[in-house]
């Protein structure tokens, strides 16, 4: 059975790190909506996440569905492995 290469775990962890900064800044901005520096940082990482997400999806298939990611041919959204399996 085919297993995911080390590159997948590395890329994924980079995205997890950037997304974590975005989660933290989101909660922070929910209570500090006038902190312009934090908003700048938020927008910077929002851009970063797009790049990383594209890098992962081009190699390992869609991360989201309902049209938030493009599909491959054939439909590859439901390809294993799922997050709890990797």
């Amino acid at each position: 059975m085919k297993q995911l290469p080390a590159d997948y775990y590395q890329l994924l962890e980079q995205l997890q790190a950037v997304d974590f900064v975005l989660v933290e800044l989101t909660l922070y901005l929910d209570t500090h909506n006038k902190d312009t520096e934090a908003i700048k940082q938020f927008n910077h990482y929002a851009k970063e996440r797009k790049k990383l997400r594209n890098a992962i999806e081009s190699k390992y298939g869609p991360l989201m569905q309902f049209g938030h990611s493009y599909s491959g041919q054939p439909w590859n959204w439901d390809d294993a492995p799922w997050p709890w399996q990797v």
Binding site: L12, Q16, L27
Partner: protein, 189 residues
């Protein structure tokens, strides 16, 4: 609406096949101060809380679902290939008789999840204080589970989750300050 993302919030690792730890961990899956209760508590309260803090309840509630998936992953990994004998030896014989190795929303003692674990008083301060208490109780639960676990990889993920309780508690405390409406009168930005 909600949209699923096919990744965990944190790279969960488990180093030993240890169903006994799964039995303890299920407390944070379907227990009173677990991640399911947290997610449902915040996402339900947000309909009647002042607009200023709806965003916070929505975002923390959403993050709790990511934590629920992390706990599920840990339980799944700890029990994935465990035999009936291993399940029985781990004190999961009662669970196995009803569920095989499937996950279920119950606590470490096997009591099924119930809506009575969560409150919605409609009073913003009462609700936010409930949320602060829930975060501190979840933090404590993670401490007690970590104390019983010799699996460093697993504890790494549990430490992440415990730290998140600290941040959520901080934000709920700030939400209370916002509702007191005293901060704008001081020199803060």
């Amino acid at each position: 609406m909600w949209v699923y993302e096919k990744k965990l919030q944190y790279p969960v690792r488990v180093s030993t096949c240890n169903p006994k730890l799964a039995k303890f961990l299920i407390e944070q899956y379907g227990g009173a101060d677990g991640e399911l209760a947290a997610a449902l508590r915040y996402l339900n309260q947000r309909y009647s809380i002042p607009d200023k803090v709806i965003g916070l309840l929505t975002d923390i509630g959403t993050e709790e679902f990511a934590h629920l998936e992390m706990i599920a992953t840990m339980v799944y990994k700890l029990t994935k290939d465990a035999t009936p004998d291993q399940m029985k030896a781990a004190g999961l014989g009662d669970h196995y008789a009803n569920h095989d190795n499937a996950l279920f929303y119950h606590n470490a003692a096997g009591v099924p999840w119930t809506a009575t674990y969560i409150q919605a008083k409609g009073d913003p301060i009462a609700d936010l204080y409930e949320d602060i208490a829930a975060e501190e109780k979840a933090r404590a639960t993670y401490q007690w589970i970590i104390n019983m676990s010799d699996d460093t990889d697993l504890n790494d993920g549990l430490r992440f989750l415990r730290e998140r309780e600290i941040i959520h508690s901080q934000r709920f405390r700030e939400a209370v300050e916002i509702l007191k409406e005293e901060r704008d009168k001081k020199k803060f930005f």
